[in-house]
């Protein structure tokens, strides 16, 4: 009998990802294609992850030049790298112990980079002060979020600790909360209103927790994932007032702040609004805001780096948060370098400025165009509808599945949108994620796909989706 017959029950409770079996299917199809099996498509378009590089978006040249020079300092003598890249690399190396990216850094990250982050935040937020002591660089935003949740979720508490989470909302935070012995309390975004967050819904969700769990925090994703909404200033103020009144810790996942496509749409951070609202809110609301190098136009998901800024957190608790972070030693140093470039890019006059600006503008234009195209094409298809993708990296169209399709799915033991997604993968070679993985309203079905892809890939995707969808709707009419 295995020693491990009994394992942590909270881990068991974490929902098995639908994605896992679809990923296997995708690998299988790729293998078939490689072997020359005839299919209506030559390659799979994999838009299942928010991974721009995988989709073919190029890394930013300056960032990679700096990383390469830091990794192999002999390149400082090379004429292949521009002066500002070499200078930045030297600046960073001078701040790494032993002048090596192989050394551990301070727990919270390279101190000077942390200072730069605080300057970045202040610039972004119209002058709102930011204290470097409250900033931690981490191995990705999820890692930071897990550590903060770990402090919030009191395993010994009865009833269990609850965290309000958006529905739809990406699953990582939910899995973390459950895995720690906490409960998630979903609040539903309003699809018909562009996935807006209604405070009344927050109240309903909070009320539903009565007698079930003890809510301690509210988790928001802005811009949203998978829903592509960007909260207005007014909406953010409402949420801040709500958490203040209800005494909740606010977790603001803002990793997509760099991805704003909507016309007349502006990202404004929770910290900025909090600061603008002045006392008592600005001095009392406890907030953790998260950012990452994975989701900006940098798209450096594989480098695993992000940061969290903590606001108004009890100093005694901060000490423990620091200890928690310290046992993971530090974030990957190459990721910290990418972060340094992200929050402090080449400036006008710098040798690399033109190219950097060109590359980032190209990606932003690509996002804007993709968002527009997706909105137009998807909404032109009967049986599909899509809210404007004002921000974020994903489209989350609704699929109005015919009853026959829903029945077929149930017969196969699948969620209806999983069934649709599997068919889409098999028949059209487009790999999306079914909406059931994101907590959608009952009896509604969606698919999620990444829109941070090269233009031609998006066009190809939309073409295949169009043909597939028309056929699917006919087959199940």
């Amino acid at each position: 009998m295995s020693v491990l017959q009994k394992i942590n029950p909270d881990v068991k409770l974490m929902k098995q990802l639908e994605y896992a079996f679809m990923a296997k299917l995708a690998i299988h199809i790729k293998e078939q294609l490689r072997k020359g099996v005839k299919k209506p498509y030559k390659t799979i378009i994999d838009v299942s992850f928010g991974d721009p590089h995988k989709a073919g978006v190029k890394p930013l040249t300056f960032a990679r030049q700096v990383i390469a020079a830091c990794t192999y300092p002999k390149l400082m003598n090379s004429d292949k790298l521009p002066l500002d890249a070499k200078q930045r690399a030297q600046w960073l190396l001078d701040r790494c112990p032993g002048q090596s990216v192989g050394s551990y850094t301070a727990t919270a990250g390279i101190p000077e980079t942390v200072h730069k982050i605080s300057a970045f935040i202040t610039r972004r937020d119209g002058g709102a002060p930011s204290d470097p002591k409250n900033i931690f660089i981490t191995a990705g935003s999820q890692w930071a979020l897990m550590n903060i949740l770990n402090v919030l979720v009191n395993k010994q508490a009865s009833p269990r600790t609850g965290v309000l989470t958006p529905a739809p909302g990406h699953d990582k935070a939910v899995l973390s909360i459950v895995g720690m012995g906490g409960e998630t309390i979903p609040y539903y975004l309003t699809e018909e209103q562009g996935w807006a967050l209604q405070v009344e819904e927050l109240q309903r969700a909070l009320d539903s927790a009565q007698g079930v769990c003890k809510p301690v925090a509210l988790y928001v994703i802005n811009p949203g994932n998978p829903a592509g909404h960007v909260q207005s200033r007014k909406s953010i103020q409402e949420v801040i007032r709500f958490v203040s009144e209800k005494r909740l810790f606010l977790l603001a996942d803002e990793v997509y702040q760099d991805c704003v496509q909507g016309e007349n749409t502006e990202f404004v951070s929770y910290k900025r609004v909090l600061n603008e609202m002045g006392p008592p809110f600005s001095e009392t609301v406890e907030l953790a805001s998260f950012h990452s190098v994975s989701k900006s136009v940098m798209g450096e998901c594989g480098l695993r780096c992000g940061y969290v800024e903590l606001v108004n957190v009890d100093p005694a608790v901060m000490k423990h948060i620091f200890t928690l972070f310290s046992k993971g030693s530090c974030s990957p140093v190459l990721g910290q370098i990418a972060l340094d470039v992200m929050i402090n890019p080449p400036q006008p006059g710098d040798p690399s400025y033109t190219l950097y600006n060109q590359e980032t503008q190209h990606i932003r234009d690509m996002l804007i165009q993709n968002a527009k195209r997706v909105y137009e094409v998807v909404n032109s298809l009967p049986g599909l509808s899509c809210q404007p993708v004002d921000g974020g990296a994903f489209a989350f169209p609704r699929v109005f599945l015919p009853p026959k399709a829903i029945k077929k799915a149930k017969d196969l033991g699948m969620e209806p949108d999983t069934f649709y997604s599997v068919r889409l993968l098999e028949e059209a070679g487009v790999f999306v994620r079914p909406g059931c993985g994101y907590k959608q309203k009952k009896d509604t079905y969606h698919i999620r796909f990444c829109i941070m892809t090269p233009r031609d890939m998006m066009d190809e995707l939309l073409g295949r989706l169009t043909s597939f969808h028309r056929k699917f709707m006919m087959d199940f009419a």
Partner: protein
């Protein structure tokens, strides 16, 4: 300060306080980056600002960070990683062909040919295959299945993940985890955070920190009265103690784990750091399989390795892996699910690991330089290990076991009663009092033995053997002088 606070009006109570936060987190300590290190950082700041001190630099001999102490990176590794980061360099003829080949292979395995793409959460498949082949070669041909390899963010990530998976139960049924005293405080921190029961077994200082199964049995039997022991952790070569366990010892531990139905966690991150004559690294897996099918098909185990130590010292890359053996398939599915939450390990760390398990071969252009650099690093460490033991043993009041392996020395210090009393007065643990004084007077940062665990009434410190030889000589001399002074001051 707000006007309210200034006027003494009752400030609104915090939402998140010491009273309602996760109580387990409050118990977490990690001495390696703890209060003494924070003080050291403070002193460094003050030196930078021009404040006069009895020393001109702070020597951070607290953390196993080789590069921070001047060890140079291995050229080949950095060349390949630079090529991976900026593939335009593949056109640069200053890079050797074997480096370019490795880089191209790694990039081909990355989404969009970029190290910035997520990898599968278990790690890039071809790298896991390379790790398997490395393990097979290391262990004399014993098969290794790439499906049992999980790449991780340093070994720490994998260790914590396994503990998280296994810790369960309430009250007397709460999972107990056996760990050595002294131990690397990641273990005690993780166990505190998870609310697991720590079952301490003492290494024998008088016998070179060796492990006696009798002691394992004593600890286990005592623990059975108040918890459910299910895991046995062992660090070999040891941290902080540096002992390299004998083959016999490893067999005994495996037998014990089987008899007592324990999951074995073998932390082997220092496997290349073996210096002492007559000492050899034996992998737990190899010994397990050589013990025959009665053991090799039943004992459940995970072994851990990392790119932070050995000859690479690439701590900042956060590369590592674990190999799980004989794990129940259903449990393995849960493990796979658990690792997916943190998405994937850093891709540069995965790439680095690939190079470590797949180094230049004799027929390749980079081979000679690679071997030269690797040998130099390991030889320097061996010399420093020997030097450290030698010098410390000349100091009255310090006794030092041979540094057989790893990167640290953990000498025992005799403290005069007056010093112990003074420490108590100041609310400090005696060896913390000692180490703080050393830091303030000499600018040398060590970690007190209390941070790792030690027999009651004994005191130690952990010092790394990583500073360059000449600097190390100076450090040893300063500690020697300090200890004599300290003993006199408190006599």
């Amino acid at each position: 300060m707000s006007q309210q606070a200034v006027n003494g009006v009752q400030c609104r109570a915090k939402v998140l306080t010491l009273d309602n936060m996760n109580p387990y987190v409050k118990r977490v300590e990690y001495a390696v980056r703890g209060p003494i290190v924070q003080r050291a950082v403070q002193l460094e700041k003050e030196l930078k600002e021009g404040i006069k001190k009895p020393f001109t630099e702070v020597i951070k001999a607290n953390i196993g960070d080789a590069h921070a102490m001047g060890q140079k990176p291995i050229t080949f590794l950095r060349q390949v990683l630079a090529l991976c980061a900026y593939p335009e360099l593949l056109e640069d003829n200053k890079f050797p062909e074997d480096a370019k080949k490795r880089a191209q292979r790694i990039l081909d395995a990355c989404g969009g040919h970029s190290i910035g793409a997520y990898s599968a959460s278990q790690g890039i498949e071809c790298i896991r295959q390379d790790v398997s082949r490395y393990i097979e070669k290391r262990d004399g041909g014993i098969p290794s299945n790439p499906d049992n390899i999980y790449l991780s963010t340093g070994a720490s990530d994998a260790i914590v993940t396994m503990l998280k998976l296994m810790v369960c139960g309430e009250g007397r049924d709460r999972t107990g985890v056996m760990i050595s005293i002294p131990q690397y405080p990641l273990y005690s921190a993780a166990l505190a955070e998870l609310g697991a029961v720590q079952i301490s077994y003492y290494l024998d200082e008088d016998k070179c920190w060796s492990l006696d199964v009798k002691e394992l049995r004593r600890a286990l039997n005592e623990a059975r009265q108040h918890c459910n022991p299910r895991v046995l952790c062992i660090i070999n070569p040891g941290n902080p103690t540096g002992q390299v366990q004998s083959r016999q010892c490893i067999e005994d531990v495996i037998r014990f784990a089987k008899e007592e139905h324990l999951f074995l966690m073998a932390d082997e991150v220092y496997q290349d750091n073996v210096y002492a004559e007559g000492c050899k690294f034996h992998s737990f897996k190899k010994v397990l399989f050589e013990m025959g099918p009665e053991y090799s098909s039943t004992v459940e185990m995970a072994s851990f390795h990392s790119t932070s130590k050995c000859y690479m010292g690439e701590c900042g890359f956060r590369g590592g892996y674990m190999e799980v053996i004989n794990m129940d398939p259903e449990v393995k599915a849960q493990l796979t699910k658990l690792v997916s939450v943190r998405l994937c390990p850093p891709v540069p760390g995965q790439a680095l690991l690939d190079l470590v398990v797949n180094p230049p071969q004799p027929d390749e252009p980079s081979y000679t330089t690679f071997v030269k650099e690797r040998t130099a690093v390991l030889a320097a460490l061996a010399e420093k290990a020997r030097l450290t033991e030698q010098v410390f043993n000349t100091v009255p009041g310090i006794t030092c076991n041979p540094v057989q392996g790893a990167m640290y020395t953990f000498p025992r210090i005799t403290l005069p009663q007056k010093a112990i009393d003074k420490a108590k007065e100041e609310g400090k643990v005696p060896d913390m009092f000692y180490c703080m004084k050393l830091l303030e007077e000499e600018g040398i940062c060590l970690v007190p033995g209390s941070g790792f665990g030690q027999k009651e009434g004994t005191f130690h410190f952990r010092m790394t053997i990583l500073p360059p030889t000449e600097k190390l000589k100076v450090v040893l001399q300063k500690i020697r002088e300090f200890h004599i002074r300290f003993t006199q001051e408190f006599s």
